[in-house]
């Protein structure tokens, strides 16, 4: 086996490749062989470091030196100075923006502290189908400690002090919820894990259940101990087969090891967990609807109070928490509330998992401390916008959330800031949009989702959203008027005020937030009959510029509907009444003679 003395890692992500990281690799290899170092030092192209802002990034190990904005011409210096003489090339070192000092070791770069994995601590680290690996990572230790060393009140106090708030979106203080359920008197109580993750583009809970199911099981048992329940139920959507499979295996293993069942760890505490499958209705993420669905009734929400903590599943006090909330619990017990509440902002403690999706380079699952800015998430961790396009908006909170503009990029993410900005935390879906996305169409897309998912119980939600959708459709067809925008606002507010559950109350949010932040786009649609992003097909118009057209007949031959006419070597014409706006002519024309307006 060859043992290399040193490795030079070069970022090969899209961003860095565009700034010649391949060329840097070539040059480095060239100079290394020049000095006969190629069997001592190896050069490796890596995946995206996520630090695209300062790319191309080059890291030298084992000394962990981190170079930023490296050019192919710097390769010679890196080899001659750093590799041969052992002196880092100072001018290429990353400078701390706060004090302009050079940072030599990658470990000292703030960027690498941007993600902290608490809920995801074991995801991608342990084998989720082997309980032993979980135990080796302090698994079930928190449960053991709670059962033998603490009273339920003490555990609840610890959770309250940690400042943990519900990660499903509402942000209700978890410790308080547990306390209320504990105080409700009944012969039977239940712990419910809400794994009905329904936001489009969100997959935080699924990944936790697939990667670390035991952390949820352990936390549910701890919750059971605190509130006085011996039964836990996981409400999970049937369209998550792998998560269900892993949960089943994990529950069976926990029973085998005596970590679920009767007399857990000899303390007399009994707890067991069953699964309940949902059919994938968005409204069943709302806790009362979820409970009705588990009871075998229609998944419709009912009026609160009574809250589930008082009267929930089968009329008994029920504590409903989200998957990610539970995944935080064992760490809080093991590390202490004071460790946890030092992470995050004043009112939002700990971390939040986000599913990054949309027009972003590093689509994936991230976990950042509360208070991280959207800019850090999108540009530093997410690696920026795909294909070098301009950022337009980021949608948080799923269909109930809002679209934020670049003015909010430096807003620290926490529950309260996002609400103040006109969006919400939601369960953690984060969809990034670029300049090619039409905000009216985006609002329409989310409304289509809520239209389908509305349970139909409340008239404003059932019919109001349908009307909203019709108006939006009218606007995207180019038939809108300015009054339509006012009508959208009015109707949205009525729906918000008069719907029973969170789905209806928040369904117009995408409409309201896009109007608030992108009113110009709406106005362009209704006044000028134009879609600035070029997405609304009905508003597009392809035309041939006579002066540039050579009459090559290429467009004529490629038009699928025969909308183009013209003689050879004479300018051609597009018949707008036949044109289906497919854009083929625009792509095929070699003379840029076709315009899109």
């Amino acid at each position: 086996m060859t043992d290399y003395r040193m490795q030079i890692l070069i970022c090969g992500g899209t961003g860095c490749k565009a700034s010649e990281s391949n060329e840097i690799k070539k040059k480095l290899n060239y100079f290394l062989s020049e000095f006969d170092l190629d069997d001592e030092v190896e050069v490796v192209l890596t995946g995206c470091f996520g630090f695209c802002e300062k790319g191309p990034v080059v890291k030298v190990v084992p000394d962990n030196t981190f170079y930023t904005q490296v050019k192919p011409s710097d390769a010679e210096d890196i080899v001659k100075e750093h590799i041969i003489k052992g002196r880092p090339v100072k001018r290429l070192l990353y400078r701390n923006p706060k004090n302009d000092y050079e940072v030599t070791s990658a470990a000292n770069i703030d960027f690498y502290k941007k993600q902290i994995r608490i809920a995801l601590r074991n995801c991608g680290f342990i084998n989720p189908e082997n309980i032993e690996e979980y135990i080796a990572r302090d698994g079930y230790l928190a449960l053991g400690k709670c059962l033998t060393e603490h009273t339920p009140e003490e555990v609840i106090t610890e959770i309250k002090e940690s400042g943990l708030r519900g990660r499903g979106g509402g942000g209700f203080p978890t410790g308080l919820k547990w306390e209320i359920t504990r105080k409700s008197e009944a012969d039977q109580k239940y712990v419910v894990c809400n794994a009905d993750e329904g936001d489009p583009g969100a997959f935080m809970d699924r990944s936790i259940l697939e990667g670390d199911p035991h952390s949820v099981i352990e936390a549910m048992a701890i919750c059971g101990y605190c509130i006085g329940a011996d039964k836990g139920l996981v409400y999970i959507r049937a369209e998550y087969p792998l998560a269900i499979e892993r949960l089943k295996i994990a529950i069976a293993q926990a029973r085998e090891y005596g970590l679920l069942g009767n007399d857990i760890m000899g303390t007399g505490f009994n707890f067991d967990i069953e699964l309940r499958y949902g059919a994938g209705a968005f409204v069943c993420g709302e806790e009362t609807a979820l409970i009705h669905s588990m009871e075998g009734l229609r998944g419709e929400p009912t009026f609160k109070p009574p809250f589930p903590s008082v009267s929930g599943y089968m009329g008994k006090p029920t504590n409903v928490n989200n998957v990610e909330t539970f995944a935080n619990i064992p760490v809080i017990i093991n590390k202490g509330a004071n460790w946890f509440n030092k992470i995050g902002t004043e009112k939002s403690k700990g971390t939040k998992v986000f599913a990054l999706a949309g027009k972003i380079n590093n689509v994936g699952l991230i976990e950042v401390p509360m208070g991280t800015t959207l800019r850090e998430v999108i540009y530093d961790i997410g690696g920026g916008i795909k294909n070098g396009k301009a950022f337009k908006s980021v949608q948080t909170g799923g269909p109930s959330g809002g679209c934020l503009t670049k003015d909010f990029l430096d807003t620290p993410i926490d529950y309260d800031n996002l609400i103040a900005a006109g969006s919400m935390m939601g369960s953690g879906g984060m969809i990034v949009m670029d300049e090619d996305d039409c905000m009216v169409s985006i609002a329409k897309f989310y409304l289509e989702f809520t239209l389908e998912e509305s349970c139909g119980k409340c008239t404003p939600c059932r019919i109001g959203n349908k009307r909203l959708h019709e108006i939006l459709d009218k606007i995207t067809q180019g038939n809108g008027a300015e009054e339509d925008i006012d009508r959208l606002k009015l109707l949205s507010n009525v729906i918000k005020d008069t719907s029973l559950c969170g789905l209806g109350q928040s369904s117009p949010n995408p409409v309201l937030s896009t109007i608030a932040n992108f009113e110009n786009e709406y106005l362009a649609h209704v006044h000028e009959g134009k879609c600035p992003a070029g997405q609304c097909k009905a508003l597009l118009k392809y035309e041939i510029i006579e002066d540039l057209c050579t009459g090559c007949t290429l467009c004529f031959r490629n038009c699928p509907v025969g909308a183009i006419t013209g003689e050879r070597r004479q300018p051609h014409f597009i018949d707008q009444s036949i044109c289906i706006k497919c854009g083929v002519c625009f792509e095929k024309c070699k003379f840029n003679a076709i315009t899109l307006t």
Binding site: M1, T2, D3, Y4, E42, V44, L45, T46, G47, C48, F49, G50, K59, F111, Y112, K114, Q115, I116, R117, I118, L120, C123, G124, F125, I126, N127, P128, E129, N130, E132, E133, I135, A136, D138, Y140, L141, G144, K145, T148, F203, S207, E210, G211, D212, L242, A243, E256, Y257, G258, L259, M265, G266, V331, K335, N362, V363, G364, L365, I366, E367
Partner: protein, 131 residues
């Protein structure tokens, strides 16, 4: 199979399991094993992690390389699935992205057998709770 009856039981089992894993990772014995962890969450499987894992199992078996192939959850690099973490004895864990059969072959031939890194390493950009 052990049943855990007390907290002391749990702690003891934990110690045992931990030392087992430590032994696997840090010992200098020649029989120590190479570990390969394949990210097998939905994102990974959808991008072909099952085939990748199968290929590793078959190929290592065929070449008589002693290695443990296990599965794990989502490492977060969903854009670079399938992702595979390889821990060679006495080396830091290395995560590779976009591991299809060809890449798996390259990892086995070049990294596992010769200890020479191949392109496509994913940099780890997060802190763990132990940091």
């Amino acid at each position: 199979m052990t049943t855990i009856k007390t907290l002391a039981d749990l702690r003891r089992i934990k110690e045992e399991l931990q030392s087992k894993i430590k032994l696997r990772e840090n010992s200098n014995h020649p029989e120590q094993l190479t570990q390969i962890k394949v990210g097998m969450a939905t994102c990974g499987i959808a991008s072909g992690a099952k085939e990748t894992m199968k290929y590793f199992l078959e190929e290592l078996e065929q070449q008589a390389i002693d290695a443990v192939v296990t599965q794990t959850g989502c490492m977060g690099f969903c854009y670079a699935e399938p992702t595979v973490e390889v821990i060679l004895p006495n080396r830091e864990p290395v995560v590779f992205g976009f591991v299809d059969k060809a890449k798996a072959q390259e990892i086995i031939d070049v990294y596992i057998k010769k200890g020479k890194l191949v392109d496509g390493v994913m940099p780890i950009t997060f802190k763990t709770i132990d940091d």
